[in-house]
Structure formats: structure tokens, C-alpha cells
Symmetry: C2
Subunit: 321 residues, 2 copies
């Protein structure tokens, strides 16, 4: 994929309102798609965003507070009703599998497709998924109960062959792969042509980090640094700093400080308390610390272009909330 794409299916905090849904995001990166958290009603939000359930192979659950997972079992049973056969990977805290299996058993719900649970390590940064293009890591957050952040990081692309050099030195096609991987070229006269002369760097890999729910974690930069996009919760304004501390959440200013420390390119904030009727104050507070902050608004679709590094924002058409 030439783009990293992120759809905000919900970004509210614990109490759902008619126009504010609990947390869920749909991420496309490195040829894979991830559903991150799955609050109540996520399956309906997926439909509103016209995201086919068949595209979902991985679901990541940050923690076992209802506003982050109540939509999971409903989605799993709908997938069964829709006759899914493909395996589904679910990553989350230890008790998640017990919770899901117990409820499916009690209600005599049969899930025929393979349901593969991956229990995350609450103590350290861990690689939880890897393919040719991508690595996904989980890392611990601080939220009173076991809670995970996630880092999605493309692998570097091989260098790109310069077409004019290819012709100039009459390099056989069979050699290209080796040169792209970094080798120099020895021509017919025994001259070494350095790799830098033959190739150019590909666009840098793209990355996304997801951090909710959490107190500000000062050492977060040990888990990732310089991500293109960081989503960090900002449940409260600084004026409610004590309340944030009591409830294991962050303020908008704290989220911005974390973005600064982690040298993120762009910060998205969300998970606002329902006490805030609009989000101008939260945005202003974060931007005063970290200017490149945006609201992760429900129904928004962010897309980052690999080459231009331009972040495009669209509102989902069918979205009427």
C-alpha cells in the first residue's frame, strides 16, 4: 500500500452518546488491515464506513474496559452469521479469551471459523505480528488495569534502481535484486561502481502508534520514536488534571508532551470526556504544546501518502453522526 489509512470509527470515552461512539479504529498499513479496539456498536460503524468484515483478519484489544471491547462478541457472532471461514486473530489481555469463550458457550453460540487468541505480554514491548512488509508491537500502558499500546511499523523498502545507470552500465536484469539489496556493481573492466551511484533510497517506512487509555508514560519514547502518526488519549483538560490522575487518564497537554518527547510527526487526540460539549479547548491546549495536533474525530478518515508524506483528511460520506 502506498498509503497508511486510518478510519476513526469511534473516539469517545466510557459513556456513549447518540453522536459519540466508543473507541474503535480501522488501520491499513503494509498490506494488512487491523481493527484496533471494538467498543459497543463497532460493527455498525464498520458498515457506515463501508468496511467489509472480510477485510478484518486481526483485532487488537487494548484493555478490558467495556468501551474498548463490548462490540467484539457481537462482531464475532455476526461474522459467523455471514458464514465466515477465514481465521481471525485476536490480540489482547489474558482474560479476553476466557471472557469470549465463556459467553459463546453459555449462549450456545457456535463459531466455526478459526478464532485464534494471542495473549499479550504485560511487562515489555513485544513483537506480536510480522510479515514481509510490517512489524506490529504491543507495549504496556498505565491505566490501573492491564492495558496495551500498539506500534505499527513498516519495514524499510529496498533501494530503488536508477534506470539510467542500469542502461549506462548495461547491468543484466538478474543482478538487479542484489544491487537493490545494497551490492556494488563490478563492470566488464573490473571497475567497482558503488551502490549509491546505482540506486536511490526508497521513501521511508511509515509508522503509527496507538496509546489509549493511559496516564502519561514518560518513558514511552523507549518503545517508539519518530512515528508518522501518534494517537494518544486526552480525556481531560489540564483544569481536570487531578481527575485525570484519579481515573488513570491523560490531559490534552500531557498527550502533547508525550508527542513532543516521542518526536511524533503528527498527533491525533481523542477519548474526550463527555463533559466537553465541543473539543476546541482540548485542541487548543494540545496545540499550545505540540502544534501539529488534530482531533481524531469520529467519522474521519486519515490517509498518509508514503512519498509526499502529506496527511489527507476526509469525512466519511455515509457517516451521519
Amino acid at each position: 500500500m502506498e498509503h497508511l489509512s486510518l478510519s476513526i470509527l469511534g473516539a469517545s470515552s466510557a459513556i456513549p452518546l447518540s453522536n459519540r461512539s466508543p473507541t474503535a479504529q480501522f488501520l491499513g498499513i503494509g498490506n494488512e488491515f487491523f481493527l484496533i479496539d471494538c467498543g459497543e456498536g463497532t460493527q455498525v460503524k464498520l458498515r457506515q464506513h463501508r468496511i467489509g468484515f472480510g477485510r478484518i483478519k486481526h483485532i487488537l484489544i487494548s484493555h478490558l474496559h467495556g468501551d474498548h471491547f463490548y462490540g467484539l462478541i457481537p462482531l464475532l457472532t455476526t461474522m459467523q452469521l455471514l458464514d465466515r471461514h477465514a481465521a481471525l486473530h485476536i490480540y489482547g489481555p489474558k482474560k479476553l479469551e476466557e471472557l469470549v469463550r465463556h459467553q459463546l458457550d453459555l449462549t450456545e453460540s457456535k463459531i466455526i471459523y478459526p478464532l485464534l487468541f494471542h495473549t499479550l505480554d504485560p511487562d515489555r514491548k513485544t513483537c506480536i505480528f510480522e510479515n514481509k512488509h510490517l512489524e506490529v508491537h504491543s507495549f504496556p500502558l498505565r491505566h490501573g488495569i492491564t492495558c496495551f499500546g500498539f506500534l505499527f511499523q513498516e519495514k524499510p523498502l529496498p533501494r530503488k534502481m536508477l534506470k539510467e545507470e542500469l542502461e549506462k552500465y548495461d547491468i543484466p536484469v538478474a543482478e538487479i535484486r542484489r544491487i537493490k539489496a545494497g551490492s556494488d556493481w563490478i563492470d566488464a573492466n573490473g571497475n567497482r561502481i558503488p551502490n549509491e551511484e546505482l540506486t536511490e533510497a526508497s521513501a521511508a517506512p511509515m509508522s503509527y502508534a496507538y496509546c489509549t487509555d493511559t496516564l502519561p508514560v514518560k518513558h514511552l519514547h523507549r518503545y517508539f520514536k519518530g512515528v508518522d502518526l501518534l494517537y494518544h488519549e486526552a480525556t481531560f483538560l489540564s483544569s481536570e488534571k487531578d481527575r485525570a490522575l484519579q481515573t488513570n487518564h491523560s490531559t490534552a497537554a500531557q498527550a502533547a508532551e508525550i508527542a513532543e518527547i516521542c518526536k511524533a510527526e503528527q498527533l491525533l487526540i481523542g477519548h474526550f470526556s463527555v463533559r466537553y460539549k465541543d473539543f476546541h479547548g482540548l485542541l487548543a491546549e494540545a496545540q499550545s504544546v505540540f502544534p501539529k495536533t488534530l482531533i481524531a474525530g469520529e467519522g474521519l478518515h486519515f490517509s498518509l501518502d508514503r512519498k509526499s508524506r502529506e496527511l489527507k483528511i476526509e469525512r466519511e460520506n455515509s457517516y451521519r453522526a
Copy 2:
């Protein structure tokens, strides 16, 4: 209450769509309010209908298929977040309490307000709630798993004193209650004035029966007869009669036959399969058997006046689905 009021929060079948929500109804009758079934997202539907959560003291769950109860635990935890103190009564199949408590325990969710479970009897019609104005009964339906219908029935009101007779015979106020309850009056000359001459009948009590999900139950008339309003599922058209049988559901024609047998005044049908893009065919099929049939459309509010027996239908303003 001079009215029976019924809000359709959701009336779709198992697979939710953006504009069709799983089953939930909010009923007001005999000075009480009941939430009947609680599919995923019911708390948001309650908000769209501007129904305060504090009004809910009784939740009835017909059966443990997800589209009828997935919204229950989310609603219970939101009530806790909103600092509820009042007791909440939950009526449902045997395993419901275990399911709820297990999930609340696993997620370390504390519910402080009293949560009182009432396990229903799957074998017979049973009175599950009674007060001065009202009786509520559960009765068994046929749906493959344990499933209940519910009957809400006002108690008859006392006869009404005729004011002109009161004056004519100079009846003391202290005697009115006895006469309203049915006594005759002996005047100063020892003449017996029969009760029928002194009083008139109050408007008949109102009643509502709720039957979903179920195969047609031919003996349903043994549980109730002559209700003002009957909600009966009608998942399929008759052309899908075999599918209805396989999946333990009813067709629109079967729902209408049941209304006929039970001598309902008015039939509401719902729980339509998502295969039907519009409901004209289902309505026509039911009306050909039982003309007084209406669609229990999501976002509709039915209200029945005790005196005129007129059924008014309004669409909830804030409802945008």
C-alpha cells in the same frame, strides 16, 4: 397513566445494519416502565428517544441470542458510571445472571446499585411482577433455546361514581369507596339503590403481549386473549416458510394467524430478515390474514389512549436512522 406507550428502539433480526438495530422496546403501562430486550447499542437508542436511564427499573430479556441482550452489560456499566443508586430488576433465562456476573467479575467492573435477577420459569405462564395497577407474566415460546414471551396487563379500574346520583341520594363521601367497589346504597327510607344505577364502568384495562423470537405457537391463546396490542415476530415471508421452520422463526402470515387466534385488537410485526430491503411485502402478507397489522418500525412511538382506544403513531424527532 392514561396511555399505554411503546417505543420501538430496534426491531431488526440478528444481523445489524446501519439503519436497522437489534431488538429493544420501551413500554410504559400501569405507572411502570419496562425495557424489553436489549440488543447491541440499546443505550444509544434510549438516548435518541430521550428516555432517561433513571426511568428504567425493570429489564426483561426474552432469550440469550445476542441480538436480544448484547446491549445489557454495556447499559448496566453506563448506569454505574452515571452513579445510579436505585435497584434494577432483570428478568430472563437461567444463565443470564451467570453470564452478567462472570463478565463483570472478569473485567473488574463494580456495580454498586442493587442488581436483582429474576430467573423465569421455562415451563409455564408465571406472574413475574405485580403492583396495584398491573400484572406482568412470562410464558414459554418455541425458539430452539429457552425463550419467553411477556404479557403486560393492567388490573381493572374500580367503577366510577355518577355525580348526579351522589347528589340525588345525598350519599356521604365516606361511602363512596364502598360503592365504587360494587356495593349498593340503602337510603334513609330503607330503599336499596342498585350499584349499576349509581356508578358506571371505567375504561377497560389495557394490555400488551410481546412474542419474539418464536415459531408460531398454536396454543398462545391459552396465555392471553384479546390484548390491545400484540407484537409478534415475522422474520420471513411465506415463500421462505421452510427457512422459518429451520431457524425457529415465524412468517408474516403465521404472525397474523396467531393474532387472529388470540383475538388481538392490533398486531405489530417486526424482526424482519435483512434479506428484505423494504417491508411492503411482509405487511401485505400479514394484512391479508389480519387487516389491523402495522410495522413495528424502528424509531416509532405507539401510544394507546385508555378511553378512546385510539392508537397514535409518532416518529421520534431526534431519530435519524
